[in-house]
């Protein structure tokens, strides 16, 4: 066999003084799989020189559940339940992307009501995800209080989901051909209340964290990801937009009813941690704007357009569809052989691509910066491992 396959044992330390003017001995250290800063079972193998990060080697697979393999043995409706467990903070968007691809493959039509509800739900979830992220970045930078503020505000949205969907995290709500059930009678009222509640809270976020001198010292000009690198690493979502690339599928290829609403795409300039931070805070305001435009105009209609009992059998072919989750573009690639189960079920997840730019941008910074940068990438580990 001509191709050499490596293992982790092949890693070696350079001789003392190879990377720095001082002749210090570098060392490896495991950040994770159990570590407070990795938010899950991510293992980062760090090569350090004192506090300075020389190399970041992500070691994955600690939460690899083989969703793609299970997907090959599940019907199209059952795969919906699997994708909730990818990026659990964007569960609805994950549901939606599979539904979208299956609908297109099988030629299932949806109605306006379904699309309105899907869009509102997705934006609510984006808000929910971003409020949580905002708290987490505070905690990663050493301020514990924002974490609880973020959770407090997220709770509000979670309650709305619970009322309509019955679940708080893994939603299983959007399915091929419509929705699992209709919205709760209180949904519109409570969503409006939530928006009124959240708007001043986003200002509070700015006062409490964005304006803090220490936060700015810890984020501005740290971990700069240039636009070329961001594209080459295949990053998407707020990470890519913070580097100055206005790539937002909601705008470029409007799905759902994004084509009917007015909103701006938040774009950063420098691509540093601060831009990634502020882009997300701006996105929260945009999401509020989107929901406000839609919430009063949900048209009447049925919440399902196909019978649940009917097995979905798309014609033979390769189908790829994608949409924008809170963290970036999730793509779903389905190969159908005409049966009721996909022949191949592949998911292109945003965090997988976003993670790898860490290997470049964290290099040369301190451990504390590595934590801040990783937090500004907003990584959800099950989404990487699948």
């Amino acid at each position: 066999m001509s191709v050499k396959v490596k293992t982790l044992d092949d890693l070696t330390l350079p001789p003392p003084g190879a990377d720095s003017p001082l002749s210090t001995q570098e060392y490896f250290i495991n950040m994770g799989p159990q570590h407070p800063a990795t938010h899950g079972v991510l293992r980062l193998l760090l090569r350090l020189d004192g506090e300075n990060v020389r190399e970041v080697i992500p070691v994955l697979g600690y939460i690899h559940r083989g969703i793609e393999k299970i997907g090959e043995n599940s019907s199209y409706r059952q795969t919906i339940h699997l994708v909730d467990r990818l990026d659990y903070l964007s569960a609805l968007m994950n549901n939606w992307v599979v539904s979208m691809v299956v609908e297109r493959a099988a030629g299932i039509e949806t109605n306006d009501r379904i699309e309105y509800i899907r869009t509102i739900m997705a934006e609510l979830q984006r808000l929910q995800s971003h409020t949580l992220w905002w708290g987490v970045i505070g905690m990663d930078l050493g301020a514990f209080t924002p974490f609880l503020y973020g959770f407090r505000d997220r709770e509000y949205a979670t309650d709305i989901f619970e009322e309509t969907i019955g679940a708080r995290l893994t939603m299983n709500y959007i399915q091929p051909g419509g929705l699992m059930n209709d919205i709760h009678p209180n949904f519109v009222k409570r969503t409006k209340e939530f928006l009124e509640y959240l708007k001043p809270k986003i200002d509070e976020y700015d006062e409490l964290v964005s304006g803090n001198a220490i936060i700015q010292k810890r984020l501005v000009n740290i971990g700069i990801l240039s636009a070329e690198d961001a594209i080459s690493f295949g990053t998407t979502g707020p990470v890519l937009r913070a580097s100055g690339v206005p790539y937002d599928l909601r705008k470029i290829e409007p799905y759902g009813v994004y084509g009917k609403v007015e909103f701006d795409v938040a774009v950063g300039q420098a691509g540093d941690s601060w831009d990634r931070y502020i882009v997300r805070v701006m996105e929260m305001r945009e999401s509020v704007k989107i929901i406000e435009q839609l919430i009063d105009n949900i048209p009447e209609g049925d919440y399902m357009t196909v019978k649940v009992a009917k097995a979905i059998k798309p014609p033979e072919g390769r189908y790829y569809g994608h949409l924008e989750t809170a963290r970036g573009v999730i793509g779903c690639f389905i190969v159908s052989d005409g049966k009721d189960k996909p022949y191949r079920f592949h998911l292109r997840t945003p965090n997988f691509n976003n993670l790898w730019c860490l290997t470049k941008i964290a290099k040369g910074w301190k451990i504390a910066d590595l934590v801040a940068i990783a937090s500004s990438l907003d990584i959800v580990i099950p989404d990487i491992d699948r």
């Binding site: 066999m1 001509s2 191709v3 050499k4 396959v5 490596k6 293992t7 982790l8 044992d9 994955l60 697979g61 690899h64 083989g66 793609e68 393999k69 043995n73 297109r104 493959a105 690198d229 594209i231 080459s232 690493f233 295949g234 690339v245 790539y247 470029i252 290829e253 014609p315 033979e316 072919g317 390769r318 189908y319 790829y320 569809g321 994608h322 573009v329 793509g331 690639f333 190969v335 022949y343 191949r344 592949h346 292109r348 997988f352 691509n353 790898w356 491992d385």
Partner: protein, 154 residues
Amino acid sequence: MEKAALLETITALIPNAKVIEEGVDRPAIELPPAHLPEAAKLLHDTDDFAFDMLCAHTAIDRIDDGKFELIYQLYSTKFHHYLMLSVKVDREHPVVPSVSSVWRIAQWHEREVYDLFGVLYDNHPDLRRLFLEDDWQGHPLRKDYRDDFMLTME
């Protein structure tokens, strides 16, 4: 660029590319493995397409044909157009050239495909298993993969 025009330009530039008409939902071409690196470089660098982003890369185990079909989903942030690249390799000797020098992210997508399908990538800077342990036997996403822990529905 429109789908037809895009495919026409690409086939003019890359003579080995064969347009896939059936069973795809976006512009797609098929390439022989040997021509993959130069074609990738052309697709990435030529200003007319500027496919600067590799959205996804994966494989399909076509066990009935004895082939692995490698799929590259390309996207251009400049022109907002897509291209699906398909490369078929022999299932017994699955060696393809790596495109990680063109798109950085390919390095990790290729590691994933190696891990789960056992496709070997030539000129890959760091070909290691990505998800499974280094001493894992077999490649789970192959259709003929079996191990002692698997639950199968018959």
